[in-house]
């Protein structure tokens, strides 16, 4: 069976920067305080929800940013112990907490600002028991972590947590190697871009414009 190339298509025309996908990720994966694997970026001014330009010639849009699950990841190459690696079967870029030695080279190598987080201390939580999915790997101090496309949900035949919650119906998930998948079809129909194409990483996250 051919390998899958799982990824996302995010419609910037629809995205309203509501942070719901970020929150779903946060809860589902029981992320420690202050850690976000998925974030909303305002494409505009220098603060959240401010446009570029001045009234009345302003413009503003949003992108959401998490691991791009690149075809040619910069991170997996540099990890000295193979703690971050690309799964062959579906292309998910994984992060093995048990292997990680905490050198943070992957964070340094990744061109996509802030998609990886390091637990700089023992993970702290607002709620004193593990929230989210029971099958999420517990977080460890001094290891690097990031979006893994909710592999615990993929294993159950579900989509990543950030997809179905999208209030704007802007997020789509699927297999780019399947020409009939919704994500493949969307790329055929709509103009789109990848983030930082000049970094030659070929992300599997596409943004529709």
């Amino acid at each position: 069976m051919a390998n899958k190339r799982l990824g996302m298509v995010i419609d910037t025309k629809r995205c309203i920067g509501c942070h719901t996908c970020a929150m779903a990720c946060k809860v589902e994966n029981n992320l420690p305080d202050k850690n976000w694997w998925n974030r909303t970026l305002t494409v505009g001014g220098k603060e959240m929800d401010t446009p570029s330009g001045t009234f009345p010639n302003a413009s503003m849009s949003y992108i959401t940013l998490a691991c791009q699950h690149c075809e040619n990841p910069a991170c997996t190459k540099v990890c000295p112990v193979g703690a971050t690696y690309k799964r062959e079967a579906d292309g998910v870029v994984m992060q093995d907490y048990d292997k990680c030695i905490g050198c943070r080279y992957c964070m340094v190598a990744c061109p996509y600002t802030g998609v990886r987080v390091f637990n700089w201390e023992k993970p702290k939580y607002q709620v004193d028991f593990a929230v989210g999915d029971a099958n999420v790997t517990p977080h460890q101090k001094h290891t690097v972590e990031k979006c893994m496309l909710c592999t615990h949900r993929l294993a159950k035949g579900l989509q990543p947590a950030c997809i179905e919650v999208c209030t704007a119906r802007a997020r789509h998930f699927g297999d780019f190697n399947d020409p009939n998948s919704k994500v493949s079809q969307l790329l055929l129909k709509r103009s789109h871009f990848q983030l930082l194409p000049d970094k030659e990483t070929n992300p599997t996250v596409y943004f529709l414009t």
Partner: protein, 394 residues
């Protein structure tokens, strides 16, 4: 200056550096327990002073070995009286470079993973291989030199060893440069000139450190004064500084000439932006040092030569620090977003306020731990000088 004074002086030095080393070790333990949170490193600036010091000490380690081996390899007039000290200095610096990597690791107890799960494609793995090699080669070289002094071993085998050591040294600097220079994701680093520049900077800082240590040792009477070889070392250092500055210039003009694009922005930041103070200390200090070192009038003055050496070392330190910061200071995606992970505390705010805002400034804890590690190097050096037969053979 009599021998008693030296003895008590060295004992005091050993006690002081040992004390600081113990403190440094305790701080490291504290850092492991409390978490790297005690540093000012954060998710958008995941490396900091420790990695800077790693780069810096890899560079410092170069000088000694190059001074000791280059003349032998190419059959030039060498600096025989100081070559053993230079090699030992290199060993100490290499140990420190390795230690700074360990100090920076989040899970040092998993270091065995490096051997068990090696990813040979990682530049860090290359360094993991090449630094111990370098350490071993240096040690063997020192051992062989000592043996040669006692008339054992052949000059040919020593020359052979010199060649191996030299190649290893060049590899160490290149590999360390490639840890940074191969990263397409960090425009500030991504240049093919980085490895040559690392070598030239290593020559500068390594030779400057050796020269400085030699001057001190001469002053305290450990070594005999040798104005002729000092002047030659000074001239050589001056030359290295100029070469290093030339490479820097090549890099800058290539990046700046288009007058646009990311790389031009990088140059602008260095020349007039938040890195300007460090950059100009590095450049002007370098030029001043080169003048003092090359000018036959000033190169005779030990204090001026010592000062120039320190200036050269400082310049290289700034270069390293600036390189590291530069990798993080300009994120590729600059759109506003919430910060992920904890925010750096306000320590260092005064510094950030001084010059724009740096994405990272080492916390007091990091400085303290760094002093502890460096003290260990000083301790190693002092112990070596005291207990190893590093004095020139009479």
């Amino acid at each position: 200056m009599n021998k008693i004074e030296i003895k008590t002086g060295s004992q005091k030095l050993i006690a002081a550096t040992a004390f600081l080393t113990v403190i440094g070790f305790s701080l490291w333990v504290y850092q492991i327990v409390r978490g790297l949170f005690v540093s000012d490193m954060r998710n958008l600036s995941p490396w900091g002073l420790y990695i800077t010091m790693f780069m810096f000490f890899v560079g410092l380690s170069a000088g000694g070995l190059i001074i000791a081996t280059v003349p032998r390899v190419f059959g030039l007039k060498g600096f025989k009286p100081v070559s053993k000290i230079a090699v030992y200095l290199a060993i100490c610096c290499t140990v420190l470079a390795g230690l700074f990597i360990v100090v920076d690791l989040g899970r040092p107890e998993r270091m065995w993973h490096l051997l068990a799960y090696s990813n040979l494609g990682s530049p860090l793995m290359w360094d993991v291989l090449v630094i111990p090699t370098y350490l071993i080669v240096s040690t063997v070289y020192l051992w062989a030199t000592l043996r040669a002094e006692k008339g054992k071993g052949s000059e040919a085998s020593l020359k052979m060893l010199s060649t191996v050591a030299l190649i290893t040294a060049i590899l160490v600097h290149s590999v360390t440069a490639w840890i940074f220079g191969l990263q397409i994701g960090r425009p500030f680093w991504h240049t093919s000139l980085l490895a040559p520049m690392f070598i030239s900077s290593a020559l500068v800082s390594g030779l400057a450190l050796t020269l400085f240590v030699v001057l001190i040792l001469q002053k305290v009477g450990y070594l005999q004064r040798d104005p002729e070889s000092k002047c030659r070392m000074a001239s050589l250092l001056g030359l290295f500084v100029l070469v290093d500055l030339f490479l820097l210039f090549c890099e800058l003009i290539t990046a700046a000439y288009p007058l646009g694009g990311t790389e031009f922005q990088v140059v602008k930041t260095m020349l007039t932006g938040i890195f300007a103070p460090m950059f100009w200390i590095e450049v002007l200090g370098g030029l001043l040092a080169a003048f003092l070192l090359l000018n036959t009038g000033t190169q005779k003055d030990n204090r001026l030569v010592g000062g120039a050496s320190l200036l050269a070392i400082l310049g290289i330190f700034f270069k390293r620090y600036q390189l590291l910061l530069g990798g993080f200071q300009f994120p590729n995606l600059t759109h506003f977003s919430i910060t992920t992970g904890p925010v750096a505390p306000d320590a260092g705010t005064w510094w950030r306020g001084l010059q724009g805002s740096f994405i990272y400034f080492p916390s007091i804890f990091e400085w303290s731990l760094t002093i502890g590690v460096v003290s260990m190097g000083a301790l190693l050096l002092t112990l070596g000088l005291k207990y190893l037969p590093l004095k020139p053979a009479k």
